[in-house]
């Protein structure tokens, strides 16, 4: 951003800071769908509404710190990610949140039994969202941040306070688990035909 003070994001933040209700609503309308999607996928639908409220109230409290170094959407997203991660941390033990070991039970059946099976076809969005809810919190957070939101492993590692290698192994674990869930769903679908 070259002209920081005149930038629309900086001006909108300034209006919000003065208590301009319309400005804050404008901020909410512009960014809440992405943040609600983040909250739903990180912590589950049942907690997402409360968390979305927390995100925007936290953002309102912290708006005085926004100086336009990044877009307001990016800044808000970081606030949202921290709120979601704090929620996950408050509900999980450190050990349960993040493990670095490769889970042998995730090995595909052709490795453990020598047999293979049908591959995934087109993945239904609803099936994926449902499968995502069943992931353990640590690998779920990494999957959402990397595959859904597009963060790099280095950034994710900083956000989560883990090594980059841990972020990579958690992503691998998440994708294998999702593959297993989605294949089970595919089998159920074939049986219904």
């Amino acid at each position: 951003m070259t002209d920081v003070h005149g930038h629309p994001d900086v001006q909108l933040a300034a209006r919000c800071r003065t208590g301009d209700a319309a400005a804050f609503e404008e901020l909410y309308k512009a960014h809440s769908p992405r943040l609600f999607g983040l909250a739903c996928r990180m912590v589950g639908r049942s907690h997402a509404e409360d968390l979305l409220q927390d995100i925007f109230l936290t953002a309102h409290r912290k708006l005085e710190k926004y100086r336009g170094e990044s877009s307001l959407g990016t800044w808000l997203f970081r606030v949202g990610t921290n709120v979601c991660l704090d929620f996950i941390r408050s509900r999980s033990s450190r050990n349960a949140l993040m493990t670095a070991e490769f889970d042998e039970t995730m090995a595909p059946e052709h490795v453990t039994t020598g047999k293979s099976g049908p591959v995934l076809g087109v993945i239904d969005r609803i099936d994926l969202e449902r499968a995502l809810e069943d992931l353990p919190p640590g690998c779920r957070a990494v999957f959402v941040l990397h595959d859904v939101e597009g963060f790099e492993h280095g950034e994710i590692a900083k956000m989560l306070g883990v090594a980059e290698g841990t972020s990579k192994s958690q992503l691998h674990k998440a994708r294998l688990r999702l593959r297993r869930s989605l294949r089970a769903e595919t089998h159920r679908g074939l049986e219904r035909v």
Binding site: E49, D147, G150
Partner: protein
């Protein structure tokens, strides 16, 4: 195809489909995939999962979320700091309500609503610094927690041993976060992440204790349906 080969390749497949292996690693995996249809299928599936995730769209929140934010939104800087104060002070009322529920013979719902837009609630009129305000808010939470713990302790035998054990595990975990956040704030009093984590953990502890008290009240009344809902994680 040897089991060992597939196991070794499996660990590399996410990095392979994401293009993160070096040249030698990529060549080794590619050579295996040329001869192993099963691993090829796994690689294709992992890429499909990734691509499907990239296509997940934002989700429109329900209208009541904005209504809650608009009602709770502070209108200025000083009131923004008092958000925690208002929530914390209102918790003292919540714990009094919860105590009455466990003592009442008639079925009743615990009072759980919190008016975050009350601003200072029952807090003192003058607080000089942000640290003083937040210390007062933490004090309110701790008062609520102490009251809930006292109520819970009086009737702890009413709860099944396995449920009590699970609740104790949850409380131990959240106490650990409270202690860590306090330690972080002791060395860095201005740390907002530590402050946010502390209040998130305090709030979570209150939620757990409220559930405990609700459960005990339901068990005393013989209200199995409510007890089952509370143990299932839903508030009565």
């Amino acid at each position: 195809m040897s089991l060992m080969d597939c196991t070794d390749v499996l660990e590399q497949l996410t990095a392979y489909v994401d293009g993160e292996l070096d040249r030698d690693g990529r060549a080794a995996v590619a050579a295996h995939l040329e001869t192993c249809a099963a691993c090829r299928d796994v690689a294709a599936d992992l890429a499909r999962v990734r691509d499907a995730a990239r296509g997940l769209a934002p989700i429109a929140p329900p209208p009541q979320v904005w209504a809650g934010i608009a009602a709770a939104r502070p209108s200025g800087r000083r009131q923004a700091r008092n958000q925690w104060m208002g929530l914390a002070a209102a918790l003292v009322l919540v714990t009094a309500g919860a105590y009455l529920v466990t003592r009442s013979a008639a079925p009743a719902r615990p009072v759980v609503s919190v008016d975050a837009d009350k601003g200072n609630g029952g807090a003192p009129a003058t607080v000089e610094t942000i640290e003083d305000e937040l210390a007062k808010a933490a004090e309110h939470y701790e008062t609520a927690i102490a009251q809930l713990e006292a109520v819970a302790k009086q009737d702890e035998k009413a709860m099944p041993a396995d449920t009590a054990a699970k609740l104790q595990v949850s409380l131990s975990q959240v106490d650990k976060y409270i202690a860590e956040s306090r330690a972080a704030l002791a060395t860095e009093p201005q740390s907002e992440p530590a402050r946010d984590t502390l209040f998130a953990a305090l709030r979570r502890k209150v939620e757990i204790l409220q559930q405990t008290v609700s459960l005990m009240g339901a068990m005393q009344r013989g209200d199995r349906e409510t007890a089952a809902k509370v143990m299932g994680g839903k508030s009565s």
